[in-house]
C-alpha cells in the first residue's frame, strides 16, 4: 500500500520539479545506491579481506578506507545537501574554509607521531614496556598525566 502511494507522489514531485528547480528524484536514488555499494565494499574489506593480512599492511587498507570515506562524503554533500547544484560563489564559501582540514589533519598526526618517537628516544623503557606482555597497569594512567 505504501509502495503504490509512494509511486504516485513520486511521479507528481518529479514532474513538478523538472519545471521548478530541476529536483531529480532519480539522482537521489542513484546516490543512495552508490553510498550503499561503497559501505558494502568497506564491510567486505574490513570483515573478510583485511584480517587475512598482517598488521603491518594495515596502512594500505586505511588509505583505501580514506578514499571510500572521501567518496561517500562527496556524494552526501554534493547530492543530498545539494551543494553541487548551487552557484560557484556558494560552493567556494564552503569548500575553501574546509581546506583548512588538510593542514589540520597533517599537522596534528605528524605531531602525535613525533611525540611517540621522542618518547621512545628519551625513555627507552617506554618502547621496551610496550613489548613486555602484559605491560604494567600504570601504563594507561601515565598517558593522561
Amino acid at each position: 500500500m505504501q509502495e503504490t502511494h509512494g509511486h504516485t507522489s513520486h511521479g507528481h514531485t518529479e514532474a513538478a520539479h523538472a519545471e521548478e528547480h530541476g529536483f531529480d528524484t532519480k539522482a537521489i536514488w542513484r546516490t543512495f545506491w552508490i553510498l550503499l555499494v561503497i559501505t558494502c565494499i568497506e564491510l567486505i574489506v574490513g570483515m573478510f579481506i583485511a584480517p587475512r593480512f598482517p598488521h603491518t599492511t594495515k596502512v594500505w587498507f586505511n588509505i583505501l578506507y580514506i578514499i571510500f570515506t572521501g567518496a561517500k562524503a562527496f556524494y552526501i554533500i554534493a547530492e543530498f545537501m545539494h551543494l553541487k547544484h548551487e552557484i560557484k560563489n556558494m560552493i567556494m564559501t564552503i569548500a575553501v574554509p574546509a581546506l583548512l582540514f588538510i593542514w589540520f589533519i597533517g599537522a596534528f598526526l605528524w605531531d602525535g607521531d613525533s611525540f611517540k618517537n621522542l618518547r621512545h628516544k628519551m625513555d627507552p623503557y617506554k618502547a621496551e614496556s610496550h613489548k613486555a606482555q602484559p605491560a604494567p597497569p600504570s601504563h594507561g594512567e601515565e598517558h593522561l598525566k
Partner: protein, 224 residues
C-alpha cells in the same frame, strides 16, 4: 532565490545575495561548517593520540556483536546496519525536501515520518551498542580491551569512543527533535500558510550533516 541563473550574472555588484540562496539556509551552512570543525577537532585529537600511542585495540575484536546473536563473531555487521539506517533516513529526508518543493503537504508528512523513524532506529541501535559495551566493562575511564598485539591498552580508546559517538548521538537526537517539530508544523499547515517549505530544507541540511559525520566516525573508529 528560484530565479534562473544566467552565466555572466554579476554576483558581487550588490542588490542581491551573491550566493543565490536564502539567508537562513546560508546561515545553516555556516553553522554546519563550525560544527564540522568541532567534530574535526575531536576526531583529529583522537588521531593525534593514536599516532602517539604504541598500539591500539583492533576494532574487529571490540565491535563484533550483533543483537540476539550471542557470541558469534560478526565484526562490523551491526555498525554497517546503523550506517545503512542513517543513509536511508537521509534519502527519505531528501524526498521530504523534494515534496516540500512542490508544496505537497501529504508527501512532506509521509517522508518526515520515515526520517524520524530512521533517526529513532539509529539511536536505538546506538543505545544497544553502548549498553553491550558497558556490560563488557567498557566506559569512560575503563577499558577491558587489550591492544591488537595483546599488550595492555590505555583508556584513551574508550574515552574517545564514548565521547565522539556520544557527541554524534546527541546530534542525531537533536536532529530527531528538530524533525518532529518540522512534522508538527507541516501537519498544522504552518508551511502551507507561509507559502513555502524552506524550513524543511534547513532541517534537511542538518540531518544530512549528521549522516556525513557518521561516515567519518564509522571510518575512524570501526575501520582504522
Amino acid at each position: 532565490m528560484a530565479e534562473a541563473v544566467s552565466a555572466n550574472q554579476k554576483w558581487w555588484s550588490g542588490g542581491r545575495s551573491p550566493f543565490n540562496v536564502e539567508y537562513g539556509k546560508l546561515m545553516m551552512w555556516y553553522f554546519l561548517m563550525s560544527d564540522a570543525f568541532t567534530f574535526g577537532a575531536f576526531l583529529i585529537s583522537y588521531g593525534s593520540i593514536r599516532f602517539a600511542t604504541n598500539a591500539w585495540p583492533n576494532p574487529n575484536d571490540v565491535f563484533s556483536s550483533f543483537p540476539g546473536m550471542g557470541h558469534t563473531h560478526l565484526p562490523l555487521v551491526f555498525v554497517s546496519l546503523m550506517t545503512f539506517i542513517l543513509i536511508m533516513s537521509s534519502v527519505t529526508m531528501v524526498l521530504a525536501v523534494g515534496a516540500g518543493h512542490s508544496k505537497d503537504r501529504a508527501g512532506v508528512i509521509k517522508w518526515m515520518l520515515w526520517t524520524i523513524l530512521g533517526g529513532i532506529a539509529f539511536l536505538a541501535c546506538q543505545a544497544w551498542e553502548w549498553t553491550h559495551l558497558y556490560h563488557q566493562g567498557a566506559w569512560w575511564g575503563r577499558n577491558p580491551f587489550p591492544n591488537y598485539d595483546g599488550t595492555q591498552s590505555t583508556t584513551n580508546f574508550t574515552n574517545f569512543f564514548f565521547t565522539i559517538t556520544g557527541f554524534h548521538g546527541f546530534h542525531v537526537f537533536s536532529g530527531v527533535i528538530i524533525n518532529i517539530i518540522m512534522l508538527i508544523m507541516a501537519i498544522n499547515g504552518t508551511f502551507e500558510r507561509r507559502g513555502h517549505y524552506l524550513m524543511i530544507e534547513k532541517a534537511g541540511l542538518y540531518w544530512h550533516f549528521v549522516d556525513l559525520v557518521w561516515v567519518f566516525v564509522f571510518t575512524c573508529f570501526y575501520l582504522f
